[in-house]
Symmetry: C2
Subunit: 286 residues, 2 copies
Amino acid sequence: MTITIVGLGLIGGSIGLELKTKRFADRIIGVDLNPVHRDIALERGLVDEVQKLVFAIQQSDIIILAIPVDAIRILLPFVLDQVTHQAVTDVGSTKYCITEQVKNHPKRGCYVASHPMAGTEFSGPEAAIPGLFSKKVGIICDMARSNQKALEAITNLYMALNMRLIFMNSKEHDLHTAYVSHISHLTSFALALTVLDKEKNDRNILNLASGGFDSTVRLAASSAEMWVPVFDQNRDHVIEVIDTYIAKMNLFKSYISEGENEKVGELIHAANQIQTTLTSNSWNKQ
Amino acid sequence: MTITIVGLGLIGGSIGLELKTKRFADRIIGVDLNPVHRDIALERGLVDEVQKLVFAIQQSDIIILAIPVDAIRILLPFVLDQVTHQAVTDVGSTKYCITEQVKNHPKRGCYVASHPMAGTEFSGPEAAIPGLFSKKVGIICDMARSNQKALEAITNLYMALNMRLIFMNSKEHDLHTAYVSHISHLTSFALALTVLDKEKNDRNILNLASGGFDSTVRLAASSAEMWVPVFDQNRDHVIEVIDTYIAKMNLFKSYISEGENEKVGELIHAANQIQTTLTSNSWNKQ
């Protein structure tokens, strides 16, 4: 089997690495507009060769779009125009905008909307790592709109990455990821900005940064190129979750400023429940 | 040397574990009001024996208060009343309220205000782990108010824990920890509450929780017993940092809702700088 990966960054590169290790593909073709990324991907063995997109599509059984969601929305219809028998998927963090873009495309059946819920705060082919997807959740959206053959190909692809598959529609996907992924990035960005603002006047403040700060601010290193279009495409849900989040922070603020310690304690006890919920969740038992 | 640790939780227990391993103390006495904590601490070998506070003080060279900051503020004057030659320290996450409480105490010189910047989201003696403090920052506050002998004893104690010491006054400490520690806990609690609110109506949302969510929400498991009095004692700084933080979130909200992608990108690029700052910071190079 020949696979084309479009976009040789953290996700695309890690997919290439894994599919080669698992011998899922005989040949992996990389496509990337950035010549530096192409060189690193070849050098690190993330792909076997690099080609222009149109030629790569013709020679492939599966095409994976691993580029920012704004680029996926533009490129996906063009890719579907070229396919005959191939299966196409994308790994974008939003699904509704992207699927809407191709809902009337004659080759819609060849496309499987998916989202492997895995990543790190780093980007580019140098950030690709083995085992990134193992035991993580892979989401397949709107499966009824894909044909049997494409669905089988993409399902097997995610099985080869050792992911646990779940199925939902694109709208549900976008709502849920706003809550369990997009907001986490926003809280990290805002935390970094808050501390950096203060640090301008006091260069020593970060001497004190400890493990707790590191973990909450880790995602603040995430790439704008990837995240700006995610927030843009998932605007309504993201705004909904920011509103709820700010309301919670305001609750802490008002109880703390009024010295309502019992109320602050109640909020913390309620927040503590997240750990029980996460631990009792079978997907997180590893 | 004999050391008394008051409070056999995560911090007190981990100090006991480490000081025994490093053979810094010949004998470690544990004091805790909770009989279950005393039993676990003895069983896990975190301390050699348990005693009542007054007897433990009489037999010790160093007394470490590792209890919530509201309890430290109440207990510290009482402990200083009992000391003759001993050095006393506390490991609380606030310093100004505590040091104010004993500023006119005749034995003030025997007390060294300190704060080891280390921890996990877990609590109790079962959460004590080896190596918790290694290469982390230990803060000593208001050193001019402690006598030479007490300062040497506590400095050596933190050296035995393999901490990197820095010195500042209590007010600076409380301002800086509001930014690099207290706010991280609040953002995690608020994130947990936001997601749990939604989850009431949709039990499946947490199926999707990925590594990014886990790391930003990790601190939401932290104990109310420890954190409520921290926010209470550090109220003014905590409110200042919550205000800045909410302003940053509102900035994201307004740019995202207006589709101002360029502005959102600028915020993210600015936030990305935190990683450079943290990495270039020698305290974080391990």
